[in-house]
């Protein structure tokens, strides 16, 4: 009895969801009238259960989608601007700024699509946050930023903004494979009192309604994301934490090896899509 009720409820949601997203899917994402972003693509070979990967942008309403199509309208770009001034400001005992080594942020455009990636020297997979803090501590001799601090989120948003429209290009073979496998295991592990894995929502039920909102595929190409709910830039690990919290589980810590592995695996699920961050989402 219970099972049939659940099934009919799920069917009902699927029917409801169709007309709402149909128009949104046809739209194309072009930012500032020049940066064309792929929001729908055939899934990578390693994806067993999804044929087409879709950016979170395709699940949003026209109004929210429009916010991302113009930098003036995208509130996330305010934080990118803040990071721009930090980029050019010397800090720390070495008297260096980001710009003194790296030049313009645009010169770093090929970085974000490849992250997170294997760092040979450190012998582990590194995310943007780790590279930034390595620069700050060792080259600038400045204080490291907290993973979820405002300047860190701003700087990752800046790095992402210069790569918009470039295809996700994470390496999952070679030395990063072990981390990727761990990430995959976490993705399919049920957590919390509700016993939900990432896949239960973002693979089995994307496009269905979760309360009043559409579940997306949980792609990370738009991160760091401007969330209207937070009125601020939200880091990927913070989003992971929110998801696990919603399963009534005990989340891993931001920057933990588990979340770094999950970040790599989720990024690889987005192979075929383009970088969008800072995207605008609910």
């Amino acid at each position: 009895m219970k099972e049939t009720m659940l099934k009919s409820a799920v069917c009902g949601m699927a029917l409801l969801a169709l007309p709402l997203t149909a128009s949104a899917q046809e739209a194309e994402l072009v930012i500032n009238g020049e940066i064309e972003v792929t929001t729908e693509a055939p899934a990578a070979d390693h994806m067993d259960y999804i044929r087409t990967v879709r950016s979170g942008w395709t699940f949003r309403t026209g109004e929210t989608q429009a916010l991302q199509m113009d930098d003036f309208d995208n509130p996330g770009m305010l934080y990118v601007e803040q990071a721009m001034s930090v980029w050019n400001t010397a800090e720390g005992e070495a008297g260096e700024s980001c710009a003194s080594c790296h030049g313009a942020p645009e010169d770093m455009a090929d970085v974000r699509p490849t992250l997170p990636k294997w760092n040979e020297e450190a012998g582990e997979v590194w995310t943007a946050e780790m590279y930034i803090n390595d620069c700050r501590e060792n080259r600038m001799q400045a204080e490291a930023w907290d993973w979820n601090s405002q300047p860190m989120r701003n700087m990752t948003a800046l790095l992402s903004s210069v790569s918009r429209g470039m295809p996700i290009d994470v390496q999952i073979d070679g030395p990063a494979r072990e981390t990727w496998e761990l990430g995959k295991e976490i993705y399919y592990t049920r957590y919390g009192q509700l016993e939900l894995s990432c896949a239960n929502c973002h693979e089995d039920n994307y496009d269905n309604l979760i309360r009043a909102d559409h579940l997306s595929q949980g792609q990370s190409n738009g991160f760091p994301t401007y969330r209207l709910k937070n009125a601020n830039i939200v880091s990927l690990h913070n989003r992971f934490r929110g998801c696990i919290r919603d399963t009534r589980g005990e989340p891993f810590a931001l920057g933990s090896p588990e979340f770094i592995a999950l970040e790599l695996y989720v990024a690889s699920r987005g192979l075929g899509l383009d970088v969008e961050g800072p995207a605008v989402r609910n």
Binding site: F72, D73, P75, L78, E81, A231
Partner: protein, 109 residues
């Protein structure tokens, strides 16, 4: 005292006479409502942009009063008719007495 307040405006560079153009403005500002309390329970004093004006060649186009419920980084989009070439002047008035202005030229053919 609000920090990092930066006004931004987008006005088309040119238009034809009598055309209705769309103007977008945004000022980065915390817009502290005065209703919130800090960790120690003290009220955080109100600090908002309380008025915005737009003038074109000395003539007032828009004069708006902002209230505390208006969000952080207030974004305002409106339309204006441009009869001739000239300059738009945008002015934001802060609770702390600061006045921020921005000017944009438009050429009408």
């Amino acid at each position: 005292m609000a920090e990092n307040v930066t006004p931004r405006v987008r006005v088309p560079r040119d238009a034809s006479a009598g055309e209705v153009i769309t103007i977008k403005t945004l000022i980065s500002h915390p817009m502290e409502s005065g209703q919130r309390r800090d960790g120690d329970g003290n009220q955080i004093p109100r600090s908002i942009i309380n008025r915005f004006t737009c003038d074109f060649n000395g003539e007032n186009v828009l004069d708006a009063t902002f209230e505390p419920a208006i969000s952080t980084n207030p974004f305002l989009e409106f339309q204006a008719t441009v009869p001739e070439s000239g300059t738009f002047v945008f002015t934001w008035y802060d609770d702390d007495g600061s006045v921020y202005t921005e000017e944009k030229e438009i050429a009408v053919s």
